[in-house]
């Protein structure tokens, strides 16, 4: 299975993960500061900043686009509960 690496800047940890993993799963396990609320892409609690490697994440769904828009999210923001890793290197920090 293709692997990717996700670096959580706030705690200085890089995690190797299989492609298809959602970022919130990794954040929870590693204890980073990206926290979740509904886990269903509705509340916006898990909004985070993609510092690098946004092209290595699956494109946001219509729902995620709407929630990011409702929450006045900056361009580099994604929802950790929705963002799925495709491969490569990704660097994130709490939004």
């Amino acid at each position: 299975m293709p692997k990717a690496s996700v670096t959580f800047e706030d705690i200085g940890v890089t995690v190797t993960v299989p492609a298809g993993t959602r970022l919130i799963e990794v954040s929870e396990k590693v204890g980073a500061g990206i926290t979740y609320g509904c886990r269903e892409g509705e509340c916006g609690t898990c909004m985070m900043k993609i510092v690098a490697g946004s092209e290595n994440l699956a494109q946001p769904s219509v729902l995620e686009h709407q929630v990011l828009s409702d929450n006045l999210a900056p361009r580099a923001a994604r929802l950790a509960c929705q963002a799925q890793v495709l491969g490569g290197e990704i660097v994130v920090r709490p939004g």
């Binding site: 705690i11 200085g12 940890v13 190797t16 990794v26 500061g33 409702d70 006045l72």
Partner: protein
């Protein structure tokens, strides 16, 4: 003793030229929103402002009090005169009458903060149509003809949607829940009602305190307005010395127990049945104390009132909790403390858990889950020791303290792990 009521049944109260209180009193309320006690009820303050080109309604009331609200509103204007409905906060105690108001005043423009639309859509589902609305923020205003309402974005006081509305010509601030309290007195004005200082502080402590960084940001904006009158959504209307209430908020929201400089603080809490978790706690603290610029404090929760620790936790950078496992659970004093933390913001603080156990050792994982639920960072896997900790176990506790301390002081080494290695 005379008690001249300002509020008469079915009648609005004029606050200034073309500005009326059209809210409702709820003197029977004794517990609000499950968590707040009130000794004499509350009020749902709503307002109407008339300009040359129409009327603005600012907030509504809890649905049970809609009839009173509409009776007062109808004394002030016809529904077709309502040009704008401003919602400073969409919680149901202020938006309960909104769907009916939208039915009665279908041409009114709905004005609310930019974070409010998702809540609005849920609130007015009963109307069966997508509501039209105008999201506003700092610098936006509504011209009522001869007078303007400007908007001040004050998020998280105490919901993401909260905002304040500023009536420029009267220097009146419609503040929503900010500067409010649950205190019902039909004399309305703060210089006429009974002493409500305890209610004001109590409301801040339970509603605003978890968002104190947002309180300070909002005060930076609101203080510059220098309002002549503050009109909150609950409790007395603040026309006498309104700036005193802003100053009180600033004092309540300003950290008092800072450690100073670039020093970080770690609080280690524990409960111990046979002294094993206590030994782990001391070892963890010893390890953490080896980290420079870190001040470590150790507390036994066994005989302590957890309430006294909430202030300390609010100021601390890191928290470690130690609990033995009893009947597959962490012990009550630890849960009591962890459940008290909704009163303060612990989001982003670093945390760790540890504890001795006899059979299964669930407590550590449960505490870690709770910390994550509180939106803390838990960067180091917790430590469980079966019964008596050996010297090796205690060294692992010291290492946990050192590693947690390194995260707290920004000196943690970068590491690479595979997700399969994480629990």
């Amino acid at each position: 003793m005379s008690h001249p009521s300002v509020v008469a049944p079915g009648r609005p109260v004029e606050l200034a030229e073309g500005v009326h209180w059209i809210g409702a009193l709820d003197p029977a309320m004794r517990r609000f929103d499950i968590i707040l006690n009130t000794a004499n009820g509350t009020s749902y303050n709503a307002y109407a402002v008339r300009g040359e080109r129409g009327v603005a309604v600012i907030d509504t009331v809890k649905i049970e009090f809609a009839d009173e609200f509409f009776a007062r509103l109808e004394c002030v204007c016809r529904y077709d005169e309502i040009r704008v409905i401003v919602l400073n906060h969409l919680e149901p105690d202020h938006s309960g009458a909104l769907p009916e108001l939208m039915r009665r005043a279908p041409n009114a423009e709905l004005v609310l903060s930019q974070r409010a639309p998702s809540i609005l859509k849920a609130l007015v589902r009963e109307l069966g149509t997508e509501p039209d609305y105008t999201p506003v923020g700092d610098g936006d205003f509504v011209d009522l003809g001869g007078r303007r309402l400007a908007f001040v974005n004050t998020p998280y006081l105490h919901w993401p949607d909260t905002q304040c509305t500023w009536l420029e010509d009267q220097a009146m601030l419609f503040s929503g829940d900010v500067f409010g309290c649950h205190f019902c007195d039909d004399r309305l004005w703060n210089d006429r009602v009974g002493d409500f200082r305890f209610s004001f502080d109590y409301y801040y402590q339970h509603i605003m305190r978890p968002f104190r960084s947002f309180v300070l940001e909002a005060l930076d904006k609101l203080e510059t307005l220098a309002p002549r009158v503050i009109l909150p959504a609950h409790g007395p209307l603040l026309r006498s010395r309104p700036r005193d209430y802003m100053a009180r908020y600033r004092r309540l929201a300003t950290p008092e127990l800072g450690s100073g400089g670039d020093e970080r603080t770690l609080l280690v809490f524990y409960v111990s049945a046979y002294g094993n978790t206590a030994r782990m706690a001391r070892a963890l603290a010893e390890g953490a104390e080896q980290v420079s610029r870190l001040r470590v404090s150790l507390y036994d929760l066994q005989m302590s009132d957890v309430g006294q620790f909430v202030d300390l936790i609010e100021e601390a950078d890191g928290l470690a909790f130690g609990s033995p496992t009893l009947n597959a659970d962490a012990v009550k004093p630890v849960w009591d403390l962890l459940s008290s933390l909704t009163l303060v913001s612990v989001k982003g603080k670093f945390g760790a858990a540890f504890g001795s156990y006899g059979w299964s050792g669930e407590a550590v994982g449960m505490i870690e889950d709770r910390m994550r639920g509180l939106k803390m960072r838990v960067p180091v896997k917790g430590l469980k020791v079966k019964l008596n900790p050996t010297e090796d176990d205690l060294e692992r506790c010291r290492a946990l303290g050192r590693e947690l301390g390194a995260h707290l002081t920004g000196t943690a080494k970068r590491r690479v792990v595979d997700i399969a290695e994480l629990a």
